[in-house]
């Protein structure tokens, strides 16, 4: 077990493509860190550099305080679960799990004890004599896990291990992994595409975009205080709504009326003509069901609701609106980058299940202004967060990854 430290890590592939740019990340001993980002942003590349399968172009990688840039994978003593499992098809499940121990020349009795222990943990005992080809996807995945946990590695690295499982099995394995990691207390880096995995599994989440680290923070922090447009749009499902607004002194002119942000939540907007307001679906409510105690914190506005999706415990309302062309083009760009289909400009609003707003009607909605973020459309910076976090550990603007990596929980203390 060990801490992993990435210092100014860069990766340039042979064809000149820069897949990872100046990444700084401190992963504490025993910590569970999630790596998320859209497809092709360099997650696998980063993981493969940590494990030693990919050369580090520049920068320094420390494991347990020791520089390992030049070490071969086998000398780094990390175990990895590959995205496609990479089981040895000619070996039985038993021998697959035993493989790392056999390489380490462990005595047979020890091998047997450990393999059986791991198999028990993963409920594989009855399959030990079978070949991987005859196993189900979930069983194969557990064999891959078994092979990773059977030896005392310094850290676990997972590359989208659950991406090919069905929803039910994925849920099962997710809790399994979480439980296992807590029990073994081993430093873990986990790559995923999945929102739920990202939010539930890790102590901290690192968001990567085009090889640049955007923000590293706890899931809650990421959700409530995203540093820029990208993180705000990437984390959360349905995603955050972005509403264009023109600044006129203290007032914000939006397609839904003039709003005035509450005192503590109002960033310095001098010098900005146009801003984007970010509001998560749950910041909205049917004005009819908002309790009186909080009504004053928000604004009411009239909107045309064209579609309602009723989910039982809540419902989503879709509110289309017109936005200036340049703004909607930018929003479309952002959405494309976030892997979501480019939609027309609309609000997705979460309403209380008891709300009775009919489809295709004009309704009175309410927005909690305390939960609104203000973004600079040019740089993408979250002005609300940038202001409230003061000048100390400044949350970085979009381009500056090194500062974004600074996070209160990353003490980076290296332990042997």
């Amino acid at each position: 077990m060990a801490a992993i430290t990435l210092k100014n890590i860069n990766k340039q592939y042979g064809d000149g493509y820069r897949a990872v740019k100046d990444v700084n990340l401190d992963i504490a001993d025993g910590e569970f860190v999630i790596l998320v980002g859209p497809s092709g942003c360099g997650k696998s590349t980063l993981l493969r550099m940590i494990v030693g399968l990919e050369d580090i172009t520049s920068g320094e990688l420390l494991i347990g305080g020791e520089r390992v840039n030049e070490k071969a994978p086998r000398d780094r003593n990390l175990s990895m679960v590959f995205q496609n499992y990479a089981l040895y098809p000619h070996l039985t499940v038993y021998e697959n799990i035993a493989f790392p121990l056999r390489l380490a020349k462990a005595p047979d009795s020890e091998v047997d004890e450990r393999v059986r222990h791991a198999a028990e943990l993963l409920e594989l005992t009855e399959h030990l004599d079978r070949k991987p080809a005859n196993l189900s996807g979930g069983q194969r995945q557990r064999v891959a896990m078994g092979r990773a946990i059977v030896r005392e590695a310094q850290a676990f690295l997972f590359d989208e291990p659950l991406s090919n499982l069905d929803a039910k099995l994925r849920g099962q394995m997710r809790t399994e992994i979480s439980r296992l990691q807590k029990r073994l207390g081993i430093t873990t880096v986990y790559v995923t595409h999945d929102q739920v995995e990202a939010m539930t599994l890790g102590d901290r989440v690192a968001v990567l975009r085009k090889g640049v680290l955007q923000q590293v923070a706890s899931p809650r922090e990421l959700y409530e205080r995203p540093v820029n447009l990208f993180v705000a749009g990437f984390i959360g499902s349905p995603p955050m709504n972005f509403i264009p607004a023109t600044v006129e002194r203290d007032e914000l002119h939006t397609p839904f009326g003039q709003w005035r942000l509450p005192e503590g939540k109002r960033p310095d907007l001098s010098g900005h003509e146009i801003v984007l307001l970010g509001a998560r679906p749950e910041a909205f409510e049917d004005a009819a069901v908002v309790s009186e105690t909080i009504r004053d914190h928000g604004v009411e506005f009239e909107a045309h609701v064209d579609v309602i999706e009723w989910l039982g415990n809540e419902q989503y309302a879709y509110v289309p609106y017109e936005a200036p062309d340049d703004i909607s083009a930018q929003l479309a760009d952002l959405e494309r980058e976030l892997d979501s289909e480019a939609m027309r400009t609309q609000l997705v609003v979460s309403l209380d299940a008891t709300s009775r707003i009919p489809e295709g009607s004009t309704a009175q909605l309410w927005l909690d202004l305390r939960k609104v973020h203000v973004f600079d459309p040019a740089s993408g910076t979250n002005l609300t967060v940038a202001q409230s976090s003061g000048n100390g550990a400044a949350k970085a603007p979009a381009g500056d990854a090194s500062a974004a990596a600074v996070d209160e929980s990353a003490d980076g203390s290296a332990q042997g």
Partner: protein, 283 residues
């Protein structure tokens, strides 16, 4: 696999007919040779397909009789030379194909093209220079004198088959093995070799057959029983007397040299299991 698909009956019948035609076409000469090998010398010209009386005389002749020395030494040469040539070519081709499939190095294309060029170069055109060269450096009529030219036949095809095969191996397994603590060599030996084995066996069989069946080099680069392989030796067979037709003995020898080929195929058939790499990855 033909029988795994559900073909319409009409199509199935057509396939069967086509199959039977091919089998008859391919097996007819073989059956004929077998029939010939059981004929008495006087029966040879009888213009009948099957022997009038089945006799072991021809086999006696080549295994215990007059032609024994000629045949058995040739058999020994053939087996030895073919095995050694196969072994060397498979070992070299394995390394070459591994490099070609795995590494990016300048000249990769050149190697493959050269291999192909060597393979399509007509054997007969290099036999004469080789004959002179071998006489000068003392390789004429020796085992190495045949093994080396055989390599020129077997290596190109081995490299091509193996590199095609190696490209299909899930190489991520090698990385998995390295992460599991293997050296590059261990990863190769413990993971890649077992997966590559079927391809290697197939290649070995093909190489062996090429060496085993060669006639041109065998007849041109040897002069005595020291190195003469069976296909060449057959040409030196004589009948029981000077004036007898040796066709019976030749047929018997041909049948005997076919046996190892058949045995090999039957033996290795089990090792050429398709789908061995199944289950390595998800999906």
């Amino acid at each position: 696999m033909m029988d795994e698909r559900d073909l319409p009956t009409r199509e199935k019948v057509l396939w069967w007919i086509a199959g039977v035609v091919v089998i008859v076409y391919a097996l007819f000469p073989v059956v004929w040779i077998v029939a010939l090998s059981f004929k008495t010398p006087s029966d040879l010209g009888s213009k009948r397909f099957w022997p009038t009386s089945w006799v072991w005389e021809n086999y006696d002749n080549i295994l215990a009789g007059d032609a024994q020395e000629l045949f058995l030494s040739a058999l020994r040469n053939s087996i030895g030379i073919s095995l050694i040539a196969t072994f060397i070519s498979v070992v070299l081709a394995t390394f070459a194909a591994y490099a070609i499939a795995r590494l990016d190095f300048p000249g990769k294309r050149v190697i493959l093209t050269t291999a192909l060029a060597v393979a399509i170069f007509p054997v007969i055109s290099i036999v004469t220079p080789l004959f002179n060269l071998w006489r000068n450096i003392g390789l004429y009529d020796t085992w190495p004198g045949l093994i080396i030219p055989y390599l020129s036949l077997t290596l190109p095809i081995s490299i091509w088959t193996l590199s095609a095969f190696f490209r299909q191996i899930p190489w991520e397994l090698e990385q998995a093995a390295q992460v599991d603590g293997a050296t590059t060599w261990q990863a190769f030996r413990k993971v890649i070799v077992p997966l590559a084995a079927p391809g290697v066996f197939t290649t070995a069989i093909i190489s062996f057959f090429i060496a085993w069946n060669d006639f041109v080099y065998g007849i041109s680069l040897t002069s005595t029983e020291r190195a003469r392989p069976v296909p060449a030796a057959l040409a030196f067979f004589t009948g029981a007397s000077q004036f007898e037709d040796p066709a019976g003995s030749i047929a018997a020898a041909a049948v005997i040299v076919t046996i190892p080929v058949v045995v090999l195929v039957l033996l290795f058939q089990r090792r050429i299991v398709s789908g061995l790499t199944q289950g390595a990855v998800k999906g």
